[in-house]
Symmetry: C2
Subunit: 331 residues, 2 copies
């Protein structure tokens, strides 16, 4: 199965609706800010996930489209606010919303998208009781995302971050929205209680694996894949699982040279490409890249085991491949 | 009827629930930021409005409490983001959230409150169909608030703002939430289509009157009532209806002296108390304070006429008094 092709096919269906939800409104400056990230494309992972889950359970993919689009809109709202918070000037190779416009417009655009997301959810063709479930699920999810964003922001000034704290942050900041997509898809398709529970867990594990892998790519990827300069996570001093692990390793003896290489670049906005290259080498030598990769694989395996609740189908297979895709192992 | 006392009685009922909705969550810094404005007190106008409307229609005030609290939470979220956008350091006589904590925490706290607001709505004891209406109504309302915030922000750099543009901004930024409260209250109480329509309009007109009056108070009030220094609207160059009117009057002959008095203080952060006093005098002489007061009265009268759809009751009377209260005419 060509997973990328399959996903693109579904993403294309999503896209037809997505942008139509972002047309109505004014002033034009606000609307441009709102459309800036969504129109840059992207894999639409969250709506695709909701779609495929509903398809696997009861061939109800189409019904999830408003809900899925709402999650994509909400996801993009969190990206806009995230970029303001991190003062990140670039997203997907284009200027961030607060750079292209200004910080107030970025804050307002995010708020507006959040509101539109909930409005779009209300258009889902499902029973009122189910709709209430989606509302509760999604609002709870965005609350947790905010908790995760706060943790992430507080980590910047924290002396030490433990791996379990990092994983809690990632679960909240990233995984809960995957979980919400999968659970919502199962809800719209009227899955059994067990299916809904398993899909929630599948999305959560998939999301954590995805984020850890994203952190790995931030170290091992090239500028084209990343959409931002290599080493920018290091320059920003971002506390990824790799960095958290490496900093712990540095407490051990015999790592002085590696420590110097890493610490001279970590959080140093002016680090040269050479310093970055040495820091990355140190991360590899400390076993931190392998460590994070191993944990991502572990979550991925567990995610796959949640699929047992589904009967055999092309879509079930796709959900399995999606896991491999999320950790860069798609064949 | 002692309207303030009556409102306080209802606000007290609201408050018992309101803060309980803002307890669960972490990290503690985020939770403190979230509670900072709501715990400073306030009249809880929006939940009180929803409560009294539902009470007037079918004695269903209590049922509106989660919905009303959600609106109060959402209102406070918009205040937090507003203060970041306006770089306003003070709110209700206390440091603004982004000053007491930091801008990222203020952005995240606002987002989290928005999410909690929708979660709380889902707890309203009403039919699933009604709940869906509340969801749609509220999400649509917050979208419009964002449009209003963007207009308000854009006005700062606009050469000229027309009165109709100002009124559109105020309707979106302030009045729609009053309208949402009144319509939502009528919805929860299962009012007739005509009652729901009239309550929506009542809230809208009341909200516009309230905001214009707030602008008048910003010129004529003292520091204690305002919770901020006298003349800060002038120093910030805020385009209120009074200022919009005055700037238009200045285009006429014979207003040179007044023009100089006003323009030397308007948007001048370092204006002295003396300059502010002269600017206020000019605003009065130009008839701008009377002009705005007259328009507020006009909206107030129209708001009252929407109450005809309600049968005679103590609560109907209260809704009438609320209008007087909103424009400082409570007896």
């Amino acid at each position: 199965m060509d997973i990328e092709k399959e996903m693109q096919k579904i993403a294309k269906v999503i896209d037809k609706h997505l942008m139509s939800y972002l047309e109505e409104g004014k002033p034009e400056k606000l609307m441009k800010a709102i459309r800036h990230y969504p129109e840059a494309g992207g894999k639409r992972l969250r709506p695709v996930l909701a779609y495929v889950v509903a398809q696997a359970i009861r061939k109800q993919g189409k019904r999830t489209i408003p809900f899925g689009c709402a999650l994509e809109i909400i996801h993009n709202f969190t990206l806009i606010h995230d970029d303001v918070i991190d003062q990140d000037p670039v997203r997907r190779g284009r200027p961030a919303v607060h750079v292209l416009f200004d910080v107030p417009t970025a804050i307002i655009a995010g708020d507006a998208m959040f509101a539109r997301g909930f409005e779009v959810i209300s258009e889902t063709r499902t029973s009122p009781v189910n709709l209430n479930r989606l509302l509760k699920l999604t609002s709870r999810t965005v609350w947790l995302i905010a908790e995760g964003q706060q943790m992430d922001f507080d980590f910047e000034s924290a002396k030490k971050v433990r791996p379990d704290e990092y994983l809690e942050m990632v679960e909240k900041k990233t995984a809960v929205l995957f979980s919400c997509a999968a659970e919502g898809g199962a809800t719209v398709a009227q899955g059994t209680a067990s299916q809904i529970r398993n899909m929630r867990e599948y999305g959560r594990l998939l999301g954590i694996a995805f984020q850890i892998w994203d952190d790995v790519l931030g170290i091992t990827g090239d500028e084209k894949t990343l959409g931002k300069p290599v080493g920018s996570d290091i320059r920003n001093g971002k506390r990824t699982l790799i960095i958290v692990h490496a900093l712990k390793q540095l407490e051990k003896r015999g790592n002085k040279r590696r420590g110097e290489a890493l610490l001279s670049a970590l959080g140093n906005e002016n680090a040269t490409q050479d310093q970055i290259a040495h820091a990355i080498e140190a991360l590899r030598e400390l076993g931190s890249v392998d460590y994070a990769t191993g944990i991502a694989l572990d979550y991925a395996e567990k995610a796959k085991s949640c699929l047992r609740c589904l009967k055999k189908s092309r879509e079930k297979e796709l959900l399995g491949s999606l896991v491999d895709f999320a950790i860069g192992r798609a064949t």
